[in-house]
């Protein structure tokens, strides 16, 4: 079974102590969206929602150009009643979504908020998210302060950069 194999592989990695899983990448991408002196937010996006959907998620990459560790402490938007920071815990094949108090952005690093991991969560959406919408969202960092970004709404099945075809998958 695939799960068993996956589990064993994970166990092997854990035993060998190679499991330093961090959702950080050092490579820079183009298309920067918002810059404060210390923090750069790139490619913020969300998925189109159904008419009755109450929840949505936004993803982006955040780079800390300062000499100090920083931390995303909150997000706010007009689109939803509540805007929170969330993560997913992958528990042996079960996905558990949980609220987090903050997301660490270490100095000199790029942190990816991406599907299946950390994200900005919209709870009780006030309206449907339509393909092509730009949603103003304010991010607040412990050191860098407030950063305004525009979240672009992509297709419902979009993957961002994680899967090649995700961005261009057509709506039916």
């Amino acid at each position: 079974m695939k799960q068993t194999r996956l589990f064993t592989t994970l166990a092997v990695v854990a035993i060998l102590g190679l499991g330093g899983c961090q959702s950080t990448v050092h490579k820079m991408a183009d298309g920067e969206t918002s810059i404060s002196k210390k923090i750069m937010v790139q490619k913020p996006w969300a998925r189109a929602s159904a008419r009755m959907a109450k929840a949505g998620a936004a993803f982006m990459t955040i780079t800390n150009h300062s000499m100090d560790n920083d931390r995303l402490i909150s997000a706010s938007s007009e689109i939803a009643k509540f805007t929170e920071l969330h993560t997913h815990i992958h528990d042996n094949g079960i996905m558990r979504m949980r609220k987090v108090e903050h997301i660490d952005i270490p100095k000199g690093e790029m942190v990816a908020l991406k599907p299946g991991g950390d994200h900005v969560m919209f709870i009780n959406l006030k309206r449907k998210l339509n393909l092509g919408d730009k949603l103003p969202v304010t991010l607040e960092f412990k050191n860098a302060g407030k950063v305004e970004v525009e979240v672009e709404v992509k297709a419902a099945g979009a993957m961002g950069g994680t899967h090649k075809m995700g961005d261009v998958h057509k709506m039916h």
């Binding site: 079974m1 695939k2 799960q3 194999r5 996956l6 064993t8 592989t9 092997v12 035993i15 060998l16 998925r47 189109a48 159904a50 008419r51 009755m52 959907a53 109450k54 929840a55 949505g56 998620a57 997913h88 992958h90 094949g93 079960i94 996905m95 558990r96 979504m97 949980r98 609220k99 599907p115 299946g116 994200h119 969560m121 919209f122 709870i123 009780n124 297709a155 419902a156 099945g157 979009a158 993957m159 994680t162 899967h163 075809m165 995700g166 998958h169 709506m171 039916h172």
Partner: protein, 200 residues
């Protein structure tokens, strides 16, 4: 007498054990011919057009089944986006042989109308199924899918997220599970496995 400290001896043993495990694992993966798993149980649900459907009624067709809920903000859209891309990459002949199903594990909120709108956002062939809580629980149990309400809003008990398994099941026309794909599998890998099976 062996003078090597106990820690190192144990460490070496463990390393050999891990390597052996790894080799065994790789071989099992390469063999790749798993036996189809007969499904114990079944389901009786309604599809997005309001029609009563059963697992038995789908005999003779290949199925690709994912369990989730329409309020799911990330995990389900990721999985359904992958399924949509798998379907888009299949030959027309293969696409006609397979029915992709999205089964609600949150039927209290997922009405027939809503599950139709939701599944259509991902792929026109994706068919949503819902039912009563008991019916959905039986369907999930049949496939060993775990789900539980979590993060219930104290101000609004209809506002909650659901913890759930994120597997995709590939079922053959005899009603047996051929493959279980974990969360966010490689699109090409899934497509190749399906295409290979459908063109046997």
């Amino acid at each position: 007498m062996n003078t090597m400290p106990l820690f190192y001896r144990n460490f070496i043993r463990l390393t050999f054990f891990v390597i052996a495990l790894f080799i065994a694992n790789t071989q099992a993966a390469e063999a790749g011919n798993r036996k189809p798993m007969p499904i114990k149980g079944g389901f009786s649900l309604v599809d997005e057009t309001g029609k009563k459907v059963t697992l038995k009624g789908y005999r003779g067709q290949y199925l690709l089944i994912y369990f989730g809920y329409t309020y799911c903000p990330d995990i389900c859209p990721t999985s359904l986006g992958i399924i949509a891309q798998v379907l888009d990459g299949l030959s027309k002949k293969s696409l006609n042989k397979i029915i992709p199903l999205f089964i609600s594990i949150d039927p209290q909120r997922d009405s027939v109308e809503y599950i139709k709108e939701y599944t259509d956002m991902f792929h026109p062939r994706l068919l949503g199924l819902t039912g009563t809580v008991a019916e959905a629980s039986r369907a999930a149990k049949t496939f060993g899918v775990y789900f539980a309400k979590a993060e219930i809003n104290p101000e609004d008990s209809t506002d909650y997220s659901v913890d759930h398994s994120s597997n995709t099941f590939f079922v053959d026309p005899q009603g047996r599970i051929l493959e279980v794909f974990g969360h966010a599998p490689d699109i090409k890998m899934v497509r190749d496995k399906i295409e290979k099976q459908l063109n046997r």
